[in-house]
Structures are given as structure tokens and as C-alpha cells.
């Protein structure tokens, strides 16, 4: 599904190397988790994959189902099936949540040569998905993320993911800022999407999310590299002992 090879990324504006050779493959149907200290490059990886400006890929490649991701515009990546649930979802005053989602969904469908959804079909779909995530109609009418609490923003990300049904989902600290119940809702939302054709890359600091979303593989990122890969036990080890011993192992 997602294949990242030897990815080197520096900041466009500064001479600062952030990713220093990332290798990572997420197979269809699998959930991979990435953990790692603050500032190790996890969000940068997710941004580079989704096409945000400000980074320069100096070496390596990233493909989604064999297609070169790095060569595509952000919207093309989305239409190709990539989705990033942002660590910090953006507020967009003046753009209604519904309008936004409908525009996005139909733009993707159009790009893929599929029929666009009409207003009724769209409403039906969004009502059902919003209900699962306990997002009320009032929130759907509001401008995108404006005045949403931290937890509401994160749930809104998952709603978007459920609506867009991407092939490859990257979740960047979707658990941070969530209360216990919201965490459960979000995890249920993710688990509902798990299937053979879909891959997940879950970035998190806490084992707690991984109790709900059981990962197949856990990676530890440090200083711009994946320094260790293992099974779910690796997350437990981090929870208990922190990163220091792992970082030392490679040093």
C-alpha cells in the first residue's frame, strides 16, 4: 500500500535536515503505529506524504499503490486515497463543515471518474457517519473547526476520514486531547474502517490508543529515522521504559 524508501527531507527555508532516511512499508489491511520522542519527525513525515509546502525531499521515494506520491499535488494524493488526520486541525472561518465535506468528497469522486453525490445522498451519508461519532447536526453546520473543542476537532477529523473512505489513513496524534469516551469513539471509528484494502499509520505517544486500535506493527522514530520496528509489545515497552534505552541502543 504505502512504501517509503530512504526518505530524506530538509526544511525548504533552512538548512535543517529533519528526516534522515526513513524506510517504512504499510501493507494493505495492516495497522502500523509510529511512536517516538517529541521533535523526532513524525508530523513532518505525515506532512511530506500529504504534500504540504515548506519541505524539500533531498533523497528517497514514497509511493502509494505503486504511484509516486511525491510527484502529486496534495489534492491528487487525496484522490489517490491518502488521508491525514491532522495533529492540529485547521479552523476555516466562513466555510461550512457540510459545504467543505461535500466539496471535498465530490472533488475526489470527480477526480476518480466517479459519479458525484447529490445533496440528498450526501446528507444521508453524513448523518449516519456523524451519528456514529456523536457529532450533532449543529456542529456540522458550523464553519470548519471554528469554536470546536480540541476533542471535537479530532472527532471531526475522523468524520472526514469516514466520509472520504481513503485507502491509506495517517493519524497524527488523533488521541491527544481526547477524553476517555471520545478516545473510544475515535477508536471505534477507526476500527470500523479497518479492512483488507486499507492501511493505517497511527502516530501516537500513548499505549492507551493502541489498546483500542490494535496495531500489527510498531515503529520507533528518533531523530529522523525509524530506529526500531517490532510487534505490539514494543509499544508496551515504551510505555514502561520510555525511549532513552532504545535511542542508546542505536547510538
Amino acid at each position: 500500500m504505502l512504501e517509503i524508501k530512504n526518505l530524506h527531507v530538509k526544511l525548504e527555508e533552512e538548512d535543517k535536515q529533519i528526516l534522515k532516511g526513513v524506510d517504512l512499508t504499510v501493507e494493505a489491511g495492516k495497522v502500523h503505529a509510529i511512536m517516538g520522542p517529541n521533535g523526532s519527525g513524525k508530523s513532518t513525515l505525515s506532512y511530506v506524504l500529504s504534500g504540504r509546502d515548506g519541505y524539500e525531499v533531498t533523497d528517497g521515494e514514497a509511493t502509494l499503490e505503486g504511484n509516486d506520491l511525491l510527484d502529486m499535488e496534495p489534492e491528487e494524493r487525496a484522490a489517490a486515497g491518502l488521508f491525514l488526520a491532522f495533529q492540529y486541525p485547521v479552523e476555516i472561518p466562513g466555510v461550512g463543515n457540510m459545504t467543505f465535506l461535500r466539496t471535498a468528497l465530490n472533488a475526489q469522486r470527480k477526480a476518480r471518474g466517479e459519479e458525484e453525490l447529490n445533496a440528498t445522498e450526501f446528507l444521508k451519508l453524513i448523518r449516519a457517519k456523524a451519528k456514529d461519532l456523536k457529532i450533532d447536526a449543529e456542529m456540522l453546520k458550523r464553519p470548519v473547526n471554528v469554536g470546536f473543542s480540541g476533542g471535537e476537532k479530532k472527532r471531526n477529523e475522523i468524520l472526514q476520514m469516514a466520509m472520504l473512505a481513503p485507502k491509506m489513513c495517517i493519524l497524527d496524534e488523533t488521541d491527544s486531547g481526547l477524553d476517555v469516551d471520545a478516545m473510544k469513539l475515535v477508536a471505534d471509528g477507526v476500527n470500523a474502517l479497518r479492512d483488507e484494502g486499507r492501511g493505517f499509520l497511527v502516530i501516537t505517544h500513548y499505549q492507551r490508543l493502541l489498546d483500542h486500535i490494535k496495531p500489527d506493527v510498531v515503529h520507533i522514530m528518533s531523530n529522523g529515522r525509524i530506529i526500531k520496528t517490532g510487534g505490539p509489545d514494543l509499544a508496551l515497552e515504551v510505555e514502561e521504559r520510555g525511549y532513552a534505552h532504545l535511542v542508546e541502543e542505536v547510538a
Binding site: 504540504r52 489534492e75 476555516i92
Partner: protein, 426 residues
């Protein structure tokens, strides 16, 4: 103080090119406006209120040529149930217009009313003359003196549908001057729509008297033709508990200067003026607004939003003047521009002048580019960049468009902006 010779010459040259209509109740008002004009002289580039906008093409004797442009879309408000009145290059088109009769309102033409007892006599040129202090508006005086026609609208009740004035532009060299007077009686309510490019050069004045408890909604779209020029003035006087709401959408036009002069003279009156403009390339748009609070507990809002690209220029000069005794004034003014590139510019001069102590007034002016974070967020969800820019642009203009109370009309305006944005994508 005598006028500089150059200004005097320019003014006389303009006057010489026009015929002063005579033989009716407006004669005295026209003569006195001509006197005012000669005293002030036409605006020049050094005048304080013309610092940001060059008046030359508005004042020169000949109207600069303006090509016609077909955006290939139905005229605005075509679908609206309305009483439609049509002017073609400033000349009333009776054939194309609806019958003037409508319950709750009498509508006459300035060019056709001769009786000296006309109700409009006390208003024509009066609100304009009042509005010459403290800021001079010579092009409005020129209009009062020389306007060839216009509508005299006396609203006595609540007409069942909006009165729509449609200005068609068919001649590349037309130079039109229209002067409307609107009187809304106590407790009456009306909606006035205006649309169309009007002429190669258009000078329009609308004097509006909103009596106690009356309500007037004014929604206009101007533009379409890229080369047309316009200077318009609204002079509104508001009585106690009255409401005046005016919204203007401007798209295209090398030069537009919209002046709006509002006087809140009765307690508890409400005045909202809003404008949205979208300009691409050779486009200069100037909103010059002056709101005077001269009564207690009145509310005024000025909301102006400009989207500019490819070297377009936007100007906002807005003032809230709160006179001594106008306590409990609630005044708000915002002017913002969205600059879609570095060649475009926004020039703003927001002013507050307050002589009462118990008031709440705020104003702000900003200029900015598209929010890159928001743009990336939209694109990451699959919205193509041009469409994402348009969504953010509409969002930017929304605060102005929301000033239109009627939802269907607000939607119509939004659809027009969207159409324009789509036509002007890279």
C-alpha cells in the same frame, strides 16, 4: 477662497459639455447645485478625499469609451419577482419596463414630472447639499444640476415586491447621469434592487429619506463591463427607529467610486452599509463612506470586503462621526482586503470622530493573502487548489454578503460571486 484656475477651467469645460434641464420643479435645486459645483470645483488629484483615486476620467468632458462585455449568464435578479424598471445608457426604456403602478408606492420619472407642488421638491438636491459638509462631493452636485432623468419613488406602504432598477449598457460612448429620490413614509418598508453596468460612464445619485419606523433594503450589483466607469452617491437620512440596509456587489470596471453618506437623525435608528468587490487586473474600486450619528442609541455598521488580483486596487475611506449628544451609539466599521497576489493593493483610511462619551465604536482594517494553512487543509481533503481558493474567497466575503437580510437574494449574490470566481480562475 477662489478656486485655482486649473480647477475652474476643468469645471467650466465639463459644464459647457452639458445641457441644464429646465422647466420644472427641480429648476431651483439644479441652479443651486450648479452654484455649489462652481464654488467647489470638480475634484482634482490633490484633494484630500481623492488621494487614492484619480478623478480625471470621471470629470473630463468626454466619457472614455467602454467596450461591452458578455459574461454569458442571465442578468442578476432575473428570477426575482419584482417591478422592473429599465434604463439603457441612462435613457428610460418604457418598452422593457414594467408598468409603474404598484400598491404601496408611487413611482414617477424625474424627466416627466413638471408640477411645482411635487413631493420630491423638498428632497431633490437637499440631502446632497447637506452631505457636502464636512467633505465635499462635487460630482454629486454636478449630478443634481445636470441629471437627465431618474426615479421618484414614494413608498407609502409595503409593496409586495422589490422595485428593481436595471441599467443596461449598449453604447460604447454613453455618458449617463441619473438622480433618484426615494421617500419611505413612517412605518413603510421597501426593497430596492439595482443592477447593470449602466453606461460607459455613469454618474448616479440616490437621495433617500427614511421616516420614523420605516425600513429600506437596498441591494445592488454593479460591474460586468471591464472598461466602464462609475461614480455613485447615496445620501440617506434616517428617522427614529428606522432601518436602512445597503449592500453592493461590484465585479469588474476600470473605475468605481461609491460614496455613501448616512445621517442618523432619529433615536434608535439602524444603518448598515456593506460592500463586496472582486477585481481582476485593470480594476479600481473605491468605497467612501461617511456615517453621522446625530441621535441617541443608534447602530451603524460598515462592512467592506475586497478581493483583488492581477494588480487590482481597492480603496476604503470610511468615517464614523458621533456628534455631541449622540449617546449610546453603537458604531462598527471593518474594511478588509484579500490580496491574491503581490501586484494588487488596498488603500484604507478608517476614521472615527467622537464627541459623545457614552458610545461603543470599533473599527479595523486588514489586508492579507489567502491563509496557506487553510488552503493546504482543503487540498489535503481533495479540493483542487483553484476551487479551494474560491471557497476561501467566498468565506472571506461572507461577512459582507450576510448583511443582506433576504436569504434568497443573499444566495443569488453568492452565486454571482461564485460565477465570477470560476470565470477568473487561472
Amino acid at each position: 477662497m477662489a478656486l485655482p484656475q486649473i480647477k475652474q477651467d476643468a469645471t467650466e469645460a465639463r459644464i459647457a459639455a452639458l445641457d441644464l434641464p429646465v422647466g420644472g420643479w427641480s429648476d431651483a435645486a439644479r441652479q443651486s447645485a450648479l452654484g455649489r459645483l462652481r464654488e467647489m470645483g470638480l475634484p482634482g488629484r490633490r484633494d484630500e478625499y481623492w488621494k487614492f483615486t484619480r478623478p480625471d476620467t470621471l470629470t473630463q468632458p468626454e466619457a472614455p469609451r467602454a467596450a461591452l462585455f458578455d459574461p454569458k449568464e442571465a442578468p442578476v435578479f432575473d428570477e426575482v419577482e419584482r417591478l422592473n424598471l429599465v434604463f439603457v445608457d441612462g435613457v428610460f426604456d418604457a418598452e422593457a419596463s414594467d408598468d409603474l403602478a404598484l400598491e404601496g408606492v408611487t413611482i414617477e420619472r424625474l424627466a416627466e414630472t413638471r408640477s411645482d407642488l411635487h413631493w420630491a421638491k423638498g428632497l431633490y438636491g437637499t440631502l446632497e447639499a447637506n452631505g457636502q459638509v464636512p467633505v465635499q462631493r462635487p460630482l454629486a452636485a454636478l449630478n443634481t444640476a445636470f441629471a437627465t432623468d431618474g426615479l421618484l419613488i414614494h413608498v407609502t406602504g409595503t409593496p409586495s415586491k422589490p422595485i428593481s432598477i436595471c441599467y443596461e449598457h449598449k453604447s460604447e460612448t454613453s455618458d449617463a447621469m441619473l438622480h433618484h429620490v426615494v421617500k419611505v413614509d413612517a412605518g413603510a418598508e421597501v426593497t430596492i434592487l439595482e443592477n447593470g453596468p449602466a453606461a460607459a460612464r455613469f454618474n448616479k445619485v440616490m437621495e433617500i429619506d427614511v421616516a420614523d419606523g420605516a425600513r429600506l433594503h437596498h441591494i445592488r450589483t454593479q460591474g460586468r463591463d471591464h472598461e466602464r466607469q462609475a461614480v455613485t452617491h447615496v445620501f440617506a437620512r434616517l428617522g427614529a427607529e428606522s432601518v436602512f440596509k445597503s449592500f453592493t456587489l461590484t465585479a469588474n470596471g476600470v473605475l468605481t467610486r461609491n460614496e455613501c453618506v448616512i445621517e442618523l437623525t432619529g433615536d434608535d435608528a439602524v444603518a448598515h452599509v456593506a460592500g463586496a468587490c472582486v477585481g481582476d487586473g485593470d480594476f479600481h474600486h473605491d468605497d467612501t463612506v461617511f456615517v453621522t450619528h446625530d441621535a441617541v442609541n443608534c447602530e451603524s455598521r460598515q462592512v467592506f470586503k475586497k478581493v483583488l488580483r492581477n494588480g487590482a486596487t481597492g480603496v476604503f475611506q470610511g468615517k464614523i462621526l458621533v456628534k455631541a449628544g449622540a449617546q449610546k451609539t453603537d458604531g462598527y466599521q471593518i474594511s478588509q482586503s484579500l490580496l491574491l497576489d503581490e501586484d494588487s493593493q488596498f488603500l484604507a483610511k478608517p476614521e472615527l470622530e467622537i464627541y459623545a462619551d457614552d458610545v461603543a465604536c470599533s473599527h479595523g482594517s486588514t489586508s492579507g493573502a489567502i491563509d496557506e494553512e487553510a488552503l493546504f487543509y482543503l487540498r489535503s481533503r481533495g479540493v483542487p487548489e483553484p476551487q479551494a481558493v474560491n471557497l476561501l474567497t467566498l468565506a472571506f466575503l461572507a461577512e459582507a454578503v450576510q448583511e443582506i437580510e433576504n436569504e434568497a437574494l443573499a444566495e443569488e449574490i453568492t452565486a454571482r460571486i461564485e460565477g465570477w470566481l470560476i470565470r477568473h480562475r487561472d
